[in-house]
């Protein structure tokens, strides 16, 4: 039933309805414009009005391609008002790839020689925006002509911008472009060298230098003959020598700009033209980047002067406001990109660290500075670890910033600067952080955005902590163990149950058994104390870990004199397992059940009380009809084992050995690499290969039930489900990146986002069986690579494939140097194949 007022409105609407036109107004409008644009007899005024409307539709995101010819036609008019709109519409509606561009050539050619400078400027701008290689070649002479003959800064500025774009488009123009044109006329002349002209000069020089940089880097890979390469190289060096003469005057302009504030129209909050200052810095940076690479004396002789200039700018520029910070930021990027002297690098770190310094009036402007500061510091840690570590107070403060993106960057940096020395301090800091954020997750979350954010932060922290724990093998065990337990308690509910294995591996690998037992008995006491436990939150992750620890350490825990036997005893522990078994029996969480089963089996060898042993058997038997086939099989296997005499059982159920880490070399890298913790089932399979277990198992026919004994044991140790080896297929969307004598390597990109890339390599054995395959990967300094275990194993027969997944964090171009070593056939000699692979992407 609709309320009476709404009904009266509906009635009113019906009354007002005349000839109902249901079509949307927009499609009606564009249809109308489409017809009108075809009409040649329309006056220019009408045409203009139509193009105006069309552009309005363009902004609304409607299809407007049908207006392209109309826009170009408008340019043909003699009137400025038509040309102005026509050029604008052309830039917006056309793009570089379109055939229609040929239509433009003549008009641009005419307008580039027009007596009205504004029409020339419109044509130059359009040529720059739409330049195809063809257009660039055809119209370049007109642009050069303006550069040669004009003395109007406005026109020169536009011509320089256009010229820069043309050079980027067509490198061969450099052969005919007289670079000396830039010379004194454009850089030094009082009347001509306006800031706009200088910005244009910077763009042209950058275009030339970046083009050179690309081709110098490419040299050697190209298919062109060496002779051609060499000729081109000599020509490039010739040009470089010519433009190297501009280093000094440009550097001088930079210093005047930086030290004097003369013209109010270029002032930005007390800083003289930060835009030009930054462009000059970048231009000079490119000079030195290339000059230093080639060892070109014409450039390198300015090195010292340039370093002094950078110091001078860093000292003179005020960091009070954003424009000054923009310049300081550019200075630091220059220092680190050129990897300048150590004092300068430390100066750079100090500038960046100052960006993090807490300010009294926290607003988003200071957050922007913090963001770029943290971001840049992350990338300079490899060069100047100590200098960055000095500012860990500032970094830690950023962990508690209001802004989630700042928090993330600060976390990233915290992990980046972590080393054996500051391990304890930083881990403690991170524990505080985790505590605060997991608390606020429950208590202060006001919107769903916050909840997601804090979850992401928690997961990020947990992931990286685990990584670091594996890397820093010599670090304080107590800190590690405390941190592991605290993390599980505070953040366990956020962590995927599958990742618990990594906690278990980490706990297992800690050497300090005494402290481990003491801590576990304390934790168990807390967990089993029913009075305390009533309202405590417990996560599946924590429970799973405790279950594993019970199976592994129960005898030691009970034997520990400090254990509170009133709470922690055989009986209470078995009750706990039993209770947990009941809770999870019907759930889909078979992983938990598997761990409980394994713990029960292990426990049975460690206690004597018959009644309690029977309780353990009941736990195992309770799954003999489980609907989950895996669980059922496991239950049946375990029951069989359970009934074996103790001495046989004990052989299988010894304490877990330490998981060995496979060394992964980082090649070009120098600082410790964080490896992705290995999946436990792989570790276990590995273990079986080099311990006694495998041999015993094969000798023991009683256990050889439907599955191979190896699998049973794998289950036993970790309760992970071992699957039969599947034949790995190379995905169709992958690309061949290496073809060698023994192997072919394919790459598949899983995900590339900013700061992170996830790739998979598929390695196929071509002719022979390969064993002991060892992948080694290196990435540029600004990145960090994490290798996972080879899947399905580190050996394969001819025609088979193994998979290696890679995660790269950091920033910059994706470049890999990959070395695969292996043994061929039954030979024991190690052979390797090495290759480089560049992705056309940046992270």
């Amino acid at each position: 039933m609709v309320a009476s007022s709404l009904r009266s409105f509906i009635k009113d609407v019906r009354n007002a309805k005349t000839l109902a036109d249901e079509r949307s107004v927009i499609s009606k409008q564009s249809a109308k414009i489409r017809t009108k644009l075809r009409d040649d007899r329309l006056s220019n005024e009408k045409k203009r009005a139509n193009i105006q409307k069309l552009l309005y539709l363009y902004i609304l995101g409607e299809k407007t391609h049908f207006g392209q010819v109309g826009s170009i036609n408008l340019i043909a008019s003699d009137e400025f008002v038509d040309k102005r709109l026509g050029y604008l519409a052309t830039i917006l509606l056309l793009d570089e790839s379109q055939d229609l561009l040929t239509l433009l050539t003549n008009m641009l050619n005419n307008d580039l020689q027009h007596p009205n400078k504004y029409i020339v400027a419109l044509a130059l701008n359009t040529l720059g925006c739409l330049s195809s290689t063809e257009l660039a070649r055809d119209l370049y002479p007109d642009v050069e002509n303006i550069l040669k003959n004009s003395s109007d800064p406005f026109l020169l500025k536009k011509a320089l911008q256009c010229n820069a774009k043309l050079i980027q488009k067509d490198r061969s123009l450099l052969e005919i472009f007289p670079v000396s044109l830039i010379g004194s006329k454009l850089i030094d002349s009082a009347n001509i060298s306006t800031h706009g002209v200088l910005l244009g000069v910077c763009k042209v020089l950058q275009a030339i230098l970046i083009t050179f940089d690309k081709s110098f880097n490419k040299t050697g890979e190209d298919t062109a003959t060496e002779q051609e390469d060499d000729d081109e190289y000599q020509e490039d060096v010739g040009i470089l020598k010519t433009i190297a003469e501009y280093i000094q005057p440009l550097s001088y302009r930079l210093s005047t700009l930086n030290s004097k504030s003369l013209e109010p129209s270029y002032d930005v909050q007390g800083i003289q033209d930060p835009f030009l200052q930054c462009e000059l810095l970048v231009t000079l940076k490119w000079f030195f980047k290339i000059g230093n690479n080639l060892g070109l004396e014409e450039i390198t002789r300015h090195n010292t002067a340039f370093n002094d200039r950078l110091t001078q700018i860093a000292t003179n520029t005020s960091a009070l406001k954003n424009p000054g910070n923009a310049i300081l930021y550019e200075v630091t990027r220059t220092i680190f990109e050129l990897n300048l002297t150590q004092p300068l690098r430390v100066l750079g770190v100090n500038i960046l660290a100052n960006f993090l310094a807490p300010t009294k009036n926290a607003n988003n402007t200071s957050n922007n500075v913090k963001y770029v500061g943290l971001n840049t510091l992350v990338s300079v840690v490899p060069e100047e670890p100590k200098a960055v570590q000095r500012y860990r107070k500032f970094i830690s403060q950023c962990l508690y910033d209001y802004d989630i993106s700042i928090k993330f960057r600060a976390l990233e940096l915290t992990f980046e600067i972590m080393d054996e020395e500051n391990f304890v301090e930083l881990t403690t800091e991170l524990m505080n952080f985790l505590e605060k954020i997991s608390k606020s997750h429950y208590h202060y979350a006001t919107s769903y955005i916050d909840i997601d954010d804090s979850k992401d932060l928690i997961l990020y922290t947990v992931d990286h902590l685990l990584e670091k724990f594996e890397v820093f093998t010599n670090s304080d065990d107590k800190t590690k163990l405390d941190a592991l337990m605290n993390t599980l308690k505070m953040a366990g509910s956020f962590v995927d149950l599958d990742r618990t294995n990594e906690f278990i591996v980490a706990i297992n690998n800690i050497d300090d058994l005494k402290y481990k037992i003491a801590l576990l008995s304390k934790e168990l006491a807390e967990l089993l104390d029913e009075k305390k436990n009533a309202d405590a939150e417990s996560s599946a992750c924590l429970e799973l870990t405790i279950v594993w620890c019970i199976g592994e350490y129960v005898d030691l825990i009970i034997a520990n004199p400090n254990t509170n036997k009133n709470i922690v005893n055989e009986k209470s522990i078995i009750q706990f397992l039993s209770k947990l078994n009941n809770t999870y029996r019907l759930s889909k969480e078979s992983k938990m059940v598997h761990y409980i089963l394994t713990a029960a089996l292990k426990l049975s060898t460690k206690i004597n009380d018959k009644a309690l042993v029977e309780e353990l058997r009941q736990i195992i038997v309770s799954h003999s009809k489980d609907t989950n086939l895996m669980t059922q099989t496991k239950s049946i296997h375990y029951e069989l084992l359970f009934n074996q005499p103790d001495n046989i059982k004990k052989q299988f159920l010894q304490a877990m050995p330490k998981f060995e880490k496979k060394t992964t070399s980082r090649g070009l890298e120098t600082h410790p690499i964080a490896k992705e913790p290995k999946k436990q089932n792989d570790l276990l399979l590995d273990l079986l290969n080099d311990t006694e277990f495998g041999k015993i198992a094969t000798k023991e026919p009683t256990i050889a039930q439907p599955e191979k004994p190896n699998d049973v044991l794998a289950d036993l140790l970790g309760s992970s489900t071992s699957k039969p080896k599947e034949k790995l297929q190379i995905p169709s969307e992958s690309v061949l990146i290496h073809k060698g004598t023994e192997i072919e390597v394919y790459e598949k990109t899983i995900d590339i986002s900013s700061g992170l890339a996830h790739l998979e390599l598929y390695v196929k054995a071509l002719n022979n069986k390969l064993t002991d395959i060892q992948p080694l990967c290196a990435v540029p300094k600004t990145q960090k690579i994490t290798l996972s275990q080879l899947q399905p194993s580190n050996s394969m027969n001819a025609g088979e494939t193994v998979k290696q997944s890679l995660r790269i964090n950091g920033s910059g171009k994706l470049k890999l140097r990959i070395k695969m070593s292996f043994c061929v056939g039954d030979a024991s000699a190690v052979v390797s194949e090495q290759f480089d692979y560049k992705l056309d992407q940046t992270i």
Partner: protein, 156 residues
């Protein structure tokens, strides 16, 4: 250094008021960027920083009155702090031209908004002119030529 990939003006009502692309992208890619960015940026709190990571690049934005000015930039190449200043220069220039510019002015004079942008930023997304005065003088000179054309027509 500045090397913008695009400049978008979006209202708080999530309506695009102006878009200029400095890198070739397909219409599909453009639509995706706009559709992805709008909720991301409109949903950000005012105290958060103005830089965010998106896809393979970075986005710098700033809010003026009811309009969001959004720029796509290249990490490692663009100076994000400088990008904020470019946006500010653009706003200042429009403010002077229109006299306290508002969203409505841009809707009804978008071609002027584009003209000003084209004086400020060159075809490859770099800054072309750092003086507001210089930008506005040239815009005014071009407006005058248009006006004179008009007058010519009336007089002849």
């Amino acid at each position: 250094m500045s090397h913008l990939k695009y400049m978008l003006l979006v209202s708080r009502q999530a309506k695009v008021r102006l878009m200029q692309w400095y890198t070739p992208l397909t219409p599909k890619e453009k639509t995706k960027i706009i559709n992805d960015l709008m909720p991301m940026i409109l949903g950000r709190k005012s105290k958060m920083c103005n830089i965010l990571e998106y896809g393979n690049h970075r986005v710098v934005y700033r809010r003026y009155a009811s309009l969001y000015f959004i720029c796509g930039v290249t990490p490692e190449e663009d100076n994000e702090l400088l990008t904020l200043e470019i946006i500010h220069r653009y706003v200042e220039s429009m403010d002077t031209y229109f006299g306290n510019v508002c969203e409505l002015d841009i809707i009804f004079n978008f071609s002027k908004a584009y003209d000003i942008l084209n004086e400020l930023i060159m075809c490859d997304g770099s800054i072309a002119e750092s003086s507001k005065k210089e930008i506005l003088n040239n815009i005014k000179a071009m407006d005058d030529i248009e006006g004179n054309n008009h007058l010519d027509r009336v007089l002849s």
